[in-house]
């Protein structure tokens, strides 16, 4: 990052547009991994790793880059079995780099494959093997690609939503039968790149968030602070769909999907994420909280909920909120359908109205001693903050328009 900054400065002084960097990622594909499930059983997995000596992880390592970067993936297949590929899901790469074996190329045992792409849009993407993808994805050959904006890593995209922390819920399932060698080590014809393989019926018994389930999720706590936005990335590489239920106190705002901003952000505490989809949400906690995000796993054919997993979320403190001193300020009614009244504010003062992401909507100086009317009639329902600034100090309070 530091060298990027220096380069940018140099080129800015020269009047030249800064060059964007190239990121090189090394991935090794293995088919001899082991995964310990929450019931203590071990299964064989295929997967990706950065280092030769590592057990492949499920999910694989997250590939991270910056908007506009050229990214090169050096994929080394060390697995004595079927070939593998890397499909860059959602990154809209050209055909040669798309990772579909019969339309681009496949990487055989001990071969290297090189995938090149530019990342024009910040967002959340996937990568996975596309050789007999039904089996190789279930086997564990998948991971996330996260592309961040080039100028500020704490915004979702240029002029987007700012956030303090981010968290990811990456959903999948495991059917242990699919992890028997009789399934994983399927036949393949080295003379063909269009492999036809029999699939067993899919009846998953394990339901994962970030590769973990049940007690394994106990240490996957999302931590945040009141009045500090959390950017929550949701992705589903499973064959069931997910219903993600956000505690109401987090004031979930759905803002992007599949690497593109939504045309209209949507306040929602429940979001369905289907196989291959990704969503981004801004969580805007306003008070301390100790709760859970619930993820349901729903059968695509029957609509029945097969399982639920819970990811703890802990919100602490009152970041950025100055509590009133001895002065008895008050805002009422709260919640309101649009009109709020502020009384007890010192004069003169400036009151500012901020939206849930901290952006200033409007401000006004006043010397009124009688209650001041603040109208949010023209703004959508949601969480807002009123900040009163005077010589005596500042005071911020949350209001809800509903």
């Amino acid at each position: 990052m530091r060298s990027r900054f220096i380069l940018a400065l140099v080129f800015t002084f020269l009047g030249i547009i800064p060059l964007l960097s190239q990121t090189t990622v090394s991935l090794i594909g293995r088919n001899t991994g082991t995964k310990v499930l929450s019931d203590g059983n071990k299964i064989r997995v295929f997967g990706f790793t950065h280092d030769f000596g590592e057990n492949p992880s499920v999910p694989g390592p997250t590939i991270e880059g910056f908007e506009g970067d050229s990214i090169l993936i050096d994929f080394w297949n060390i697995s004595q079995g079927a070939p593998h590929t890397i499909h860059l899901h959602g990154l809209d790469v050209d055909q040669a780099n798309d990772g579909v074996p019969h339309l681009s190329f496949e990487v055989h045992h001990m071969d290297h494959g090189y995938y090149r792409f530019k990342a024009p849009h910040p967002g959340t993407y996937l990568y996975h093997c596309h050789v007999v993808s039904s089996i190789h994805v279930q086997a564990g050959m998948y991971g996330l690609v996260i592309i961040r904006p080039k100028n500020d890593t704490n915004v979702t995209w240029e002029n987007g939503y700012s956030f303090h922390t981010e968290a990811t819920l990456f959903m999948s399932e495991i059917d242990t039968f699919w992890h028997h060698d009789s399934v994983l080590l399927h036949e393949y014809d080295t003379s063909m790149s269009h492999h036809m393989v029999a699939l067993p019926k899919y009846h998953p018994q394990h339901f994962l968030v970030n590769g973990k389930s049940n007690w394994q999720l106990d240490n996957q706590i999302i931590q945040g602070k009141a009045n500090a936005n959390i950017y929550l990335r949701l992705a589903n590489i499973g064959y069931f769909y997910n219903r993600v239920i956000i505690p109401k106190g987090l004031h979930g705002l759905l803002i992007d999907s599949d690497g593109r901003p939504l045309p209209n952000a949507l306040q929602s505490d429940t979001i369905e994420v289907f196989p291959g989809e990704r969503y981004g949400m801004i969580l805007a906690p306003t008070e301390e909280m100790d709760d859970s995000i619930v993820v349901q796993y729903i059968n695509m054919n029957t609509g029945t909920i097969a399982n639920e997993q819970a990811v703890a979320i802990q919100i602490e403190g009152y970041l950025g909120i100055e509590h009133p001193s001895s002065q008895a300020y008050s805002l009422w009614p709260n919640p309101s359908s649009g009109s709020f009244y502020l009384s007890g504010a010192p004069t003169p003062c400036t009151f500012r109205v901020l939206n849930s992401t901290g952006s200033l909507l409007f401000q006004k100086e006043t010397t009124e001693t009688s209650p001041i009317q603040i109208s949010l009639e023209a703004h959508p329902d949601g969480i807002y903050f009123i900040q009163v600034i005077s010589a005596q100090g500042s005071w911020t309070s949350k209001i809800i328009k509903q």
Binding site: D94, D98, L103, S133, R260, E272, F274, P275, R278, N301
Partner: protein, 272 residues
């Protein structure tokens, strides 16, 4: 300004039953609304312009009583064996996709195939049509003989677009997208199956022009499009580069037929 003159658009639909031959040569009973008295697994597409009078003549060519309906548009018509019913209706909105179907014994007759799409154009774009439908081979025989199944245990094993599975979907010029860089392409999708299908596009993002499930989806630019049972969607794709790229269900069980990968809901787009 161009003024479109509303017309009467007439179709005759035959309710046919027959034997569906799947991509792996497996055979099972199926039904469809066809444009002739000969059974084809591909349901007829009804295409009209906004304001047009759509006149349908529906002939029950099967040996069972059937129904016809379009949600919020045409209430249930019962059609006795050998009988003909006629109905007229309009869509006043453009860029709408809807589903006509046989609601009797729901979802039995739909599961056997009796559901097709209606597209209200006009579209000046290249237009392709995907009627998504999945079947359970064993259940098709049970349902066709009037017996019931437990839908809570539904596990389909054949996944089709316009009645075809991979690689035969690419043989359907109405399904396989062939176009050029910069061309505006519209894709009309109806899910007439019972499962949810989550279609993933390689190579491109597309924009949702219409979604029957929720107006909130309109305008979203995505690469993966979930479509629930009996819902429709219209996508606009403007390719920015040439190549051959797949579109497939990302429920990766659904890219199979008779349990064989990759013979399911998988096709490719060819952009010059």
């Amino acid at each position: 300004m161009n003024w479109c003159v509303a017309e009467t658009v007439s179709y005759t639909l035959f309710i046919n039953s027959g034997i569906y031959t799947a991509v792996d040569s497996a055979q099972f009973p199926a039904s469809a609304f066809n444009l002739t008295a000969e059974f084809s697994p591909e349901n007829a597409r009804i295409i009209a312009s906004s304001g047009d009078t759509i006149h349908l003549r529906i002939i029950n060519n099967d040996s069972l009583v059937h129904g016809f309906s379009i949600d919020d548009k045409v209430p249930l018509l019962n059609i006795a064996v050998g009988d003909t019913e006629e109905v007229e209706f309009h869509f006043f909105e453009a860029y709408i996709a809807s589903i006509y179907y046989d609601p009797l014994a729901y979802p039995t007759n739909v599961a056997l195939g009796l559901a097709g799409m209606i597209y209200i154009a006009p579209s000046h774009a290249s237009t392709f049509y995907w009627n998504l439908k999945e079947f359970n081979k064993s259940w098709a025989s049970i349902l066709a003989t009037g017996n019931s199944v437990d839908w809570a245990n539904y596990y389909p094993d054949y996944f089709t677009v316009n009645g075809r599975s991979n690689p035969n979907i690419n043989l359907d010029s109405n399904a396989r997208i062939v176009g050029s860089v910069g061309e505006t392409i519209h894709i009309i999708i109806a899910n007439t199956g019972q499962s949810v299908h989550s279609l993933h596009f390689h190579g491109y993002h597309a924009q949702i022009l219409y979604a029957s499930e929720s107006p909130n989806y309109v305008g979203r630019i995505k690469d993966t499009f979930p479509i629930k049972s009996m819902q429709t969607m219209i996508l606009e794709l403007i390719p920015d580069k040439p190549g051959e790229y797949p579109v497939h269900d990302h429920n990766l069980v659904a890219v199979s037929a008779g349990g064989i990968y990759p013979n399911g809901m998988f096709l490719t787009m060819l952009i010059q």
